[in-house]
Structures are given as C-alpha cells and as structure tokens.
Symmetry: C2
C-alpha cells in the first residue's frame, strides 16, 4: 500500500470512530504534513482519494470538511453527540464498583427526562453569573495559573473564608486543619484511607449515601450497616454493642439532612456517638454537605462540635449550594490532618486553581448568606409541595420522609414494589428516580425510592409524580387475585 493510501485509510478509520461530525473541518494539509513530517503532496493525494470516495469535500479557500451526505461508515454517528463505539475496548470482568449508580446518574443527564432521580441540586437559583464573572476576574491574573500556590492544603484565602463561615455558624475551627479537595467525594475517600486499611470494617448508616459504600468497597474494606431510624438517625447503642463484638476501624455518617433519609441526628445522639467513638479511640468520618440547607432558624451542629480529641474527620463542599461543576470541597481531619494532606497530594496533586479563587472571592465579597436564605426557603416550600402530591397520588401505605433540610425525599413503598423495576419503567416514560438499591448492600431498601425536589415545581414534575403513582398502582400485589 502506498503512503497516501495508508494515510487515507487511517483518516477514514479516525472519522469512522465518530471523531468528527458532518460539516467539521478535517486537519489542514499543512498541519498534517508538518505534524506527521510527510510531504504536502502525500497529504493532498490522501485527501483527494477520500474526496473521490465521498467522505470529505473541499471548499474553496477553506480546506477539507467531512461531507454532510457522505455514505462512509462515519455517517452512522455523524449527527449525534456521542462518538460511536465501533471498536469497544475489551473490558476486564472484575468490576467491583457499582455500575448501577454510574448508569443511574448517566440516565439523569438525559435532558429529556424529569430528573427526580438526580442527586444534584437544580442550578437555576445559584449565583452563576456572579461566579462566572469572578472566575473570569481571577483567570485574568496570570499568576493564578501556577500550580504552586495551590499545593495542599489549598488556596489560603478560600481556607480562611471557610473557617470564617464555621465561626458564623457557631463552630470554632483552626484554619490550619482545613484541606481543599476535589469535592466532598475526594475528601471522603482520603479521610477513609487515612484511618483504615484494606480488610478493615467500617460502620455506616443503613441506608447510607452510596459514595460512602463505594469508597469502602474501593479500598477493599467491609461495610457493616447500623440500623438508622427515620427519627433519630444511627442507632448508637447498637453501634456500641457492635464495637464490643467486632473490630470496627471507623464509622462514616451524615448526621445532618442525611442522604437519602433527610433526618437530623438529635443533639444528644450526636454527643453520644462522638463520646462512644472517642472512648474507643476510633475515628468518625462526618459528611456535612447539606449542613447549610437547614429549614430551621439556626444551623444544625456538626459532630465536630463535640470532638475533643481530634477523632472527627469532617468533610463538606460547595457542590450543594454554589456549583457542583466547580468541584470544590474540603476536609477537616482532626488528628489525621497531615496524613490526609499527604494523600491529597498523592491522589490529585492539587485542586483546580480558578474555581478555588472564584469561590474565595465570592465569599469575601458577601451575599452568600442571602443566597442561602433564599435557597432554604425554596427547598422548604418545594418539600411541602412534593410531600402533599406524593401523599395524594401514591398508594396510601407509602411512608414518606419529613426532610428538615436539603432537597431529597425518601419514599418507602409497599413491600412488593421492586424499585429497580420502577426505575426502568419510569425511565421508559422519561422519568428518573433514585432506586433504594443503591443505598445499601443489605437489600433492605429495594422497595424505597429517593426523589429530588430542588427543581422549581411545574406541571411536568407533577405529571411525573402522578405517572409514578399509576405505575406503582399497576404492580400487582403477590397475593392479589388476577384481574
């Protein structure tokens, strides 16, 4: 095969992989010649060949473009947004991490579905214009582009602002304890690795936030699920008895506006949990990502407040209140601080500079509290609406949560309902839900679903809830007579 034929073949395969859409410009003759160090004549010949095959077309003074009406294999995906998977890479069979969650989240990103299953807040009430403006301002300062200023623990102004917010909310923290991370997700992972080793057992709530289960599974650790009440949170007495019989390395909890239950652990339970674990010299990893989204007059207290010996590793982020796309979170890891800082450095080196600086600037300029007050009001109102609509259109024997903050409703359906089946049936009607299956390894919540009510209430959402109610009503009870 001649060189230009080989090049034409490569380019055809490149296009077939969905690399360029119909109408896209292909690399210029000069660019390809320079880059590959081959003659311009060879590239021209290759392009002529592809043109004769109807795959690309030349436009005067503009270069070569992928043909709109070409019949090459690449037209299979020529007008879609996803590249075709013509050559799927072979996959190792041993994938431990729940594919289900990632698949669920990916279906949520379908723009045409009602996003009741989304874990993310609707971003429309967020101060995105101001944040964009600030991101632009900090991006213009070229010295903001060196990685060096943002080595762990992270941007010092952001750290100061975070410590200042804790002070406002009644918790005195040492700014030196704070380490900026890529969202709370990275913080949870680093804290877990700092306190436990593969094979260790970690006590978690049941149900629990799936990212906690993932972090545990990923590190080759085991999760032990502790009964968690809709009223009082994790059963601390049960945990105490488990501590006596089993070797528990740590415990991971979400004491405020628990995902998915929405509850706040009562004050005395928080104190009891910290005292128990401190006596046992065991760390508690606390996720506090919804803390600022309280409906009451004052913020809930963190476990960190009762931490006298540095055993509480507190993790949070701005993803639920400012922007999840910024990926800015933090850890306050108590006595494990230096270890977490090292792990942060090893895991991702540093956190993207511009988002850190933009948020620091936003917090410095003020207005975050007004924004949060508005957000709390919106979520509280919407929690009332969704609760009343679910009560009206779902079977009467459903149990629904009474969230005290956040934007997530938990619905326990009758025992014969299979949440995964509901998930699939709902998806066909362009509705997503969070199936209970992803919040536990016990199989205890396969008749539960989580619904996101952060989106402004509208007729589509109402219709989606009514549709869900109808689907559920159609699931025949096992002992019901055939119609």
């Amino acid at each position: 095969m001649k060189m230009y034929e080989q090049l034409a073949g490569e380019l055809e395969e490149h296009l077939a992989a969905g690399m360029l859409k119909a109408g896209d410009k292909v690399p210029s003759v000069r660019q390809l010649s320079q880059q590959r160090n081959i003659s311009i004549t060879t590239v021209l010949k290759a392009y002529s060949l592809l043109e004769s095959r109807g795959i690309i077309e030349s436009r005067p003074q503009s270069g070569y473009f992928v043909r709109k009406s070409s019949h090459g294999t690449h037209t299979l995906t020529a007008d879609t947004d996803s590249p075709a998977r013509l050559k799927p890479p072979p996959v190792a069979s041993n994938v431990e991490i729940s594919q289900l969650v990632l698949r669920t989240l990916k279906t949520i990103s379908r723009n045409d579905a009602v996003p009741l299953g989304s874990p993310y807040p609707d971003s429309s009430p967020f101060p995105l214009t101001r944040l964009s403006h600030l991101a632009n301002n900090v991006a213009r300062k070229s010295n903001s582009w060196g990685v060096l200023d943002d080595l762990p623990p992270g941007n010092i102004n952001l750290i100061r602002q975070i410590a200042g917010r804790y002070f406002l909310n009644g918790l005195l923290v040492d700014p030196n304890e704070i380490i900026i991370t890529v969202g709370a997700t990275e913080a949870l992972n680093l804290c877990l690795q700092a306190v436990a080793r593969p094979g260790d057992t970690i006590a978690v709530e049941s149900p629990t936030y799936y990212a906690i289960l993932h972090a545990i599974e990923r590190m080759g650790m085991r999760a032990i699920e502790i009964p968690t009440s809709h009223k009082t949170g994790m059963d601390v007495d049960y945990l105490a008895s488990i501590l006596e019989s089993e070797k528990i390395a740590a415990c991971m909890v979400m004491p405020n506006f628990h995902n998915p239950l929405g509850i706040v652990m009562p004050e005395e339970n928080k104190k009891k949990l910290v005292a128990l674990m401190t006596r046992a010299r065991k760390p508690i990893i606390e996720s506090a990502v919804y803390n600022e989204l309280y409906y009451a007059d004052t913020p809930p207290s963190s476990l960190k407040k009762y931490d006298t010996e540095g055993y509480v590793l507190h993790c949070s982020s701005f993803s639920k209140t400012l922007s999840s796309a910024f990926r800015i979170g933090w850890a306050m890891p108590g006595r494990y601080r230096d270890k977490v800082e090292n792990l942060k450095f090893v895991n991702t080196l540093s956190t993207s500079a511009i988002p850190q600086m933009a948020i620091a600037e936003y917090l410095t300029q003020g207005g975050y509290d007004q924004h949060l007050r508005r957000l709390r009001k919106i979520y509280q109102q919407q929690s009332r609406i969704i609760s009343s609509v679910v009560k009206r259109f779902f079977p009467s024997d459903c149990i629904i949560s009474e969230p005290e903050g956040g934007y997530l409703l938990w619905v326990q359906l009758p025992p014969h309902i299979d949440a995964m089946r509901l998930y699939n049936d709902a998806l066909e009607r362009k509705i997503t839900i969070g199936p209970g299956n992803i919040f536990s390894n016990t199989g205890n919540f396969t008749n539960c679903i989580r619904l996101n009510y952060s989106y402004p209430w509208d007729s589509d959402i109402e219709a989606a809830i009514i549709t869900l109610g109808k689907i559920i009503a159609n699931y025949r009870q096992p002992d019901a007579p055939h119609p």
Copy 2:
C-alpha cells in the same frame, strides 16, 4: 460567663488563629446576630468589649475592623499570608507517604528562591491570556455549570480534541477509550488501582518519577526497581528475568523524556517491552506527560502504538504544555477502560467543568501546534545553555543527561556528594534543587540532582548554578587530606 463575654472570647480566639488580617472587616453585627440567632445587643456588647481590649475598632458607617496596631495575640500573624498554627492539630504518627517530596515542592513555591528544583514548567510562555478569555466565555454559559455533562468519561468535545491530536501525531485511538482526570496524577492512581491489589509488586524504572512511587506506596503495593540506562531506558531483559522469578502485577514506565532522566526509550525497546508484557498478560501503565515536548522533528511514539491486546494504560495531561493549575489529564486504559471510569467516578466524581471546556475550545480554535513548536524551541535552547554552564561550573567528574525533550536535567555528582545536604545548603542560599533521593527507594541516587531549565535563562539562574558548583566543590572528599 455572660453570653456576650463568651462570644467575645470566641471571636478573639477566631482572630488569634490568623483568620483575619489587620484591617480586615469582622462579620457585621447584623450578620452575626442573624446567623447565630442571638440578639443584636449581645453582638454589640461583645464587639464593644473587643474594642475596649484594642482588638477591633469601629469605623463610622463601615462596621468593625481588626485593629492595625492592636496588641492581641492575633497580631502575631496579622501581616503574614499564612495562618498561625496556634493550636496544631494532633497528628497520627503513621504517615507513610514521603513528606520529603511535599516539603520539597512547598519550598519551591517560595517566590524568593531560584526554582531549579521545581517539577513544573515556567508558565510565562503559556497562552494564559487566551485560556483566560476562553474560560470566561465558557463560564458565561450557565449550562456549563451543571456537573451532569461532565460525569466520567468527561467533556465529549475535549475527548474528541484529544483523540484528534493523537491522530495528528500518528496514533489512531478510539475516543471512547479516553477518560478525563484531575491531571495525570489522578490517571496514574486510577490505572494502578484498576490493575493491581494491595500486596502486589509493581515493576518501575530506577530512578522513577516520585508520583509513581507514591501511588504504589499508597495502595499498599511494593515497587521493584528495574535498572534503567541513560541511553536505552528500562532494561527489558532484566524485567523479563524478574517476571520469571517474581510475581509482578504490572509495570509503570515513562518511555518518553523520562522524569528525571530525560531519555527516550528506543523504538525496539518499546516494542520489546509491550510484547513481553502482552505475552505475560500483564498491564503496562505509561506516563506520557512530556510527549509533546520533543526536540526532534517528529513526536516520539507511545507504547500504546504497539499495544495489540489492550494491556497498555496510557496517561497524559495538559499540565506541561498549557496549565498545571487547570488540572486536566486523561487516561486511555485499554481493556481496563470501564474499571478506570468507575474508579474515576468513585475517586472525584467528575473533573472541574470550566477548565475542561476552556481547553476543548482552545484546541478547537487552533494554534496549539504553533504554541508547542515555540515551546520546544525554547526548551531545546535552554537545555543547551544549562548543560554548558553546569559543565563549566560543576566538578569535571559529574555526569549530566542529554535530554531529548522536556525541561529537566539530571546531574550525577561525585559519589561522596549527599544530595539532601546540598538541597539544604542550597535552600539557605535561596536556591531549590530536586534531590535524587525522591526518585528511588534504593538509595542509589543520593548523589544525583534534578534541575529545571524551563525558566528563561537569566543572571539569577546562572549565579545559582555557579553557587551550586561552589557548594559542591566545598564538600570535602572522604579520603581527601585536611586542609
């Protein structure tokens, strides 16, 4: 203690922790009252008390500010940029990850030191203004702020552009194989975890890039160092013999412009390595972060080029060519693709959206190749200068590398030189170097140093090299007579 006295005490402690600098505004009376749900009178009383103690001062129509000339404990740090560590958090003793590297990197960020020890490129030739402009453009589109579009594998336009660049450089890749990560650091970590388990042994070059050692150490794996020549790279025959006697789970290499050696593995060695590992069905993790910084006419080939069975996990980033502060890298993990995608999701959920979109837009608009050609020329010129200056001012029995790309010079000093001592002595003269100790666990390179030549050559850098030469000359040889 009365409530206002307690509040005053808290605020004083908050300031003492270095939270606010002299002249900074303290929270407004209204804000603190609202946030803590206490009366305005109580806050006013607390602020008056602090004013009487000379810690804050009121300014008409403006509120309360930290006093410039106050005598409170917080003035200790009132004018510094780092918060004071008045209450250092207790630290767990078991910190495995090399503190040395992080400490080294932190000293590099001192603005007053000559950064010969930096691993990062000087950012002055980078297209920062254009990137800022593009970051601003994408930030203005509010739909760019949802996390959803950027779930793993990442931004589809960026993925297409990356695949397009591989095509230009002569490597045909399936865009579906690419997963965007937080720099190459995250990519290396995820790939390693995808292919090996705690307790496994990983073959690495000797010396090797310290982040590779960190990733291995962190996962509870063992590194076995394979002799690596200044001319031909990793000794593949030695690796083959090791594979017969030891259980090796994977191998991690940097075949092009190796950090710190600067070498390119010859073509036949690359083929041999991939063939060896493929026969043994063992994965190779390839770091390709310097690939675009070649001095020759054409880009070096990747191990990925010879990968027929999907055993090569290729990792790279834009940190060495566009911006390290963006934190945008990627993995092409071959047959381990889905596993790496899952781990990415679990590790950091997604990668910051704006940097991904800004780089995608930059690549779409063109000009990257011109930028790279300029960068290559600069680095090649500076490599000649630093080599000649080092040859002139260092002892004649030094061996210096001949980099074929990148911006790092490796100098092997006489055997009696202790690189850590040199590191400390140089730091006192405000010069940083990369001590050989951080590139190996064997102790084989304690007389070697790595020097960064990405910065525009100037008299400060020249003086620093001369100073280093003098310090080295002053280290007495063990068997030399006393003067």
